[in-house]
């Protein structure tokens, strides 16, 4: 067994003396949760396409607070957990971080509602999205409402979306500044105090770039380009900040890049609890549209969806 280098106590197992069957250890995983999610009776983990790339990702729901959390995984080699009297060789740690449901809905809205309006319920009727219908509000930030307000039919509005994202980036940049997050290039120790204290000398643009980098982890590449155009970043700076960010994220936030590598593991570990794991494969296949299909989509604009009339069996 590999050695453990970890100092943190796993929260779900507060009493280390309690005997736990080895079999259960094998099928368990370490998840850090805020207290209020524990009080939530129907805590569940669901699979949805990740907003940036459409790959399956895990999210958890808090039905009481109507909040969605992303399950992020941090994993290093040579890491294990002690659980009670046993060792769990998979030393990965899962955390939940709140995520705005609009980010999850955005790719779907962009895909289906560019040229026509669609009721929210239909928009979110497939691929596991039906579970988050109740969690989505403020759709006005990224789309225009069409027809009667009861129907909640929305059409994608790029201008609104970019303004909304711009607001998010500026807000995040403000937080980064107030928390003294190191955003310029070159590595720095967290404990290292520079002579120019508090990053005061750092250009505002660095913060914005850093913030847009973080936001971009939840956006499709096309939208990232649009957003960068809007801020008019100089390309060389983007690159250096982007590189910096990769090495820096481990200190500041759980690394998303690592997550994709460890998807397999989550899948493996979650297998016991989640029977609908087969959805994973289906979510992955999305072919580009042919000219014929595009023409058909254009023809479909302005038409209601047929599933609005017929109930699902």
């Amino acid at each position: 067994m590999s050695t453990t280098r970890n100092q943190r106590k796993p929260k779900p197992f507060n009493s280390p003396c309690a005997p736990v069957a080895p079999k259960r250890i094998e099928n368990s995983w370490i998840l850090l949760l805020p207290d209020h999610l524990f009080e939530n009776d129907n805590f569940s983990i669901i699979t949805l396409p990740h907003p940036a790339n459409g790959n399956p990702a895990k999210f958890s729901l808090n039905s009481k607070l109507k909040k969605i959390y992303e399950v992020v995984t941090f994993k290093e080699p040579y890491r294990s957990w002690f659980i009670g009297e046993t060792v769990k060789s998979n030393g990965s740690i899962h955390l939940v971080t709140p995520v705005n449901p609009l980010f999850l809905v955005l790719p779907r809205l962009r895909e289906l509602c560019r040229s026509r309006a669609m009721p929210l319920e239909d928009l979110l009727s497939e691929k596991g999205f039906e579970k988050i219908v109740d969690y989505v509000n403020n759709l006005d930030c990224i789309g225009d409402i069409k027809g009667s307000p009861d129907m909640k039919a929305y059409k994608y509005n790029e201008e609104k979306t970019l303004s909304w994202l711009e607001g998010k980036v500026r807000q995040l940049a403000g937080v980064l500044r107030s928390k003294n997050i190191h955003v310029t290039s070159a590595a720095a120790s967290v404990t290292f105090v520079t002579s120019n204290i508090c990053n005061q000398s750092v250009d505002e643009e660095f913060f914005l770039k850093y913030a847009s980098g973080i936001i971009s982890e939840y956006l499709e590449s096309e939208l990232i380009e649009q957003l960068e155009k809007r801020f008019d970043f100089k390309p060389d700076l983007i690159e250096s900040v982007g590189k910096k960010r990769k090495s820096d994220t481990q200190q500041t936030m759980p690394n998303k890049k690592l997550k994709s590598e460890t998807d397999e593991d989550i899948k493996h570990v979650l297998n016991d609890s989640n029977p609908s794991i087969n959805d994973w494969k289906e979510l992955k296949k999305q072919k580009p549209l042919t000219a014929k299909e595009k023409a058909r989509q254009k023809a479909a604009s302005g038409t209601k969806t047929i599933s609005a009339f017929f109930s699902k069996k």
Binding site: R116, A117, D122, E126, K146, G147, A153, E282, K292, E293, A295, R296, Q297, A299, A300, S301, G302, T303, K304, T305, I306, S307, A308, F309, F310, S311, K312, K313
Partner: protein, 260 residues
């Protein structure tokens, strides 16, 4: 074991022609009563429902219900290999991941078989409620195809309005507008050429022309087509396939006051 044999492959060929432009893949649900297919197009605006009854086949055997997900482009390629007069047999084992098409020439001199991989499609089935429609219009299918083709030159959407005077198809666009009125035929010499309108309430609905054009690919399946309409519900375009079943297309109406 599933086995279905049709004396004339042309029916299956025509069915494929009628759906392959609208759908890319679909599940054929087979049970002892026959073959059913239900699928939405990619834009989820229209729905195709196909029924082929067991008694319409020359030989039909289905021991266990099976659902076969097929890529329709591939299936269509295979069916193009069959001659119109050939006998076609579809075969699949229980829990198989392939389906076999066997074509036999009328004099049994040539037998060809094609095996196709099945797909695992997890498509949702919609429950279609039995609806009493305010208007049903029966007209020659070629006439309907002609109307759809002609009007689609004028605009993207077509208004179908049914009143007690008759049924009016209209479209308008950049070059102008077009109206086609059909009245109920007074004397019926041939039933196939009749226009029959049954109306309880007048209805006016707007639909995407292109979709109607897709539906008319089924024209060769039936000399007559039946359109059923009620306010604010999907249009039903039904082609009966003689002795074996029918194909129904459902199309959602366009939302009014949409910015075009």
């Amino acid at each position: 074991m599933f086995e279905a044999r049709l004396l004339r492959s042309s029916i299956l060929k025509k069915v494929l022609e009628a759906i392959k432009d609208l759908l890319t893949q679909a599940t054929f649900d087979c049970d002892d009563s026959g073959i059913q297919l239900q699928a939405m197009d990619n834009s989820h605006v229209s729905l195709v429902s196909l029924t082929l009854r067991a008694d319409g086949f020359d030989k039909y055997r289905c021991d266990r219900n099976i659902s076969m997900g097929m890529n329709l482009a591939s299936m269509s390629k295979i069916l193009k290999c069959a001659g119109d007069k050939d006998t076609v047999t579809m075969k699949a084992q229980d829990n198989a991941d392939t389906v076999t098409f066997v074509f036999e020439s009328p004099n049994q001199e040539k037998v060809s078989d094609y095996e196709m991989k099945l797909m695992n499609l997890d498509l949702e089935h919609l429950g279609i409620p039995e609806t009493e429609y305010s208007c049903t219009i029966r007209l020659p299918s070629a006439e309907f195809a002609r109307i759809c083709r002609d009007l689609s030159q004028f605009g993207e959407s077509m208004v179908i309005s049914c009143t007690k005077e008759g049924v009016k198809f209209s479209a308008s666009g950049d070059i102008g507008s077009a109206n086609i009125k059909l009245a109920q035929t007074a004397s019926v010499d041939k039933e196939e050429e009749a226009v029959v309108i049954e109306m309880d309430e007048p209805v006016t609905l707007t639909f995407a022309c292109q979709y109607l054009n897709y539906f008319t690919k089924a024209t060769s399946l039936s000399p007559q087509v039946q359109l059923s309409m009620s306010a604010d519900v999907p249009l039903v375009v039904e082609y009966r396939i003689q002795d074996i079943g029918h194909i129904r297309y459902y199309l959602a109406p366009k939302i009014e006051e949409e910015d075009s």
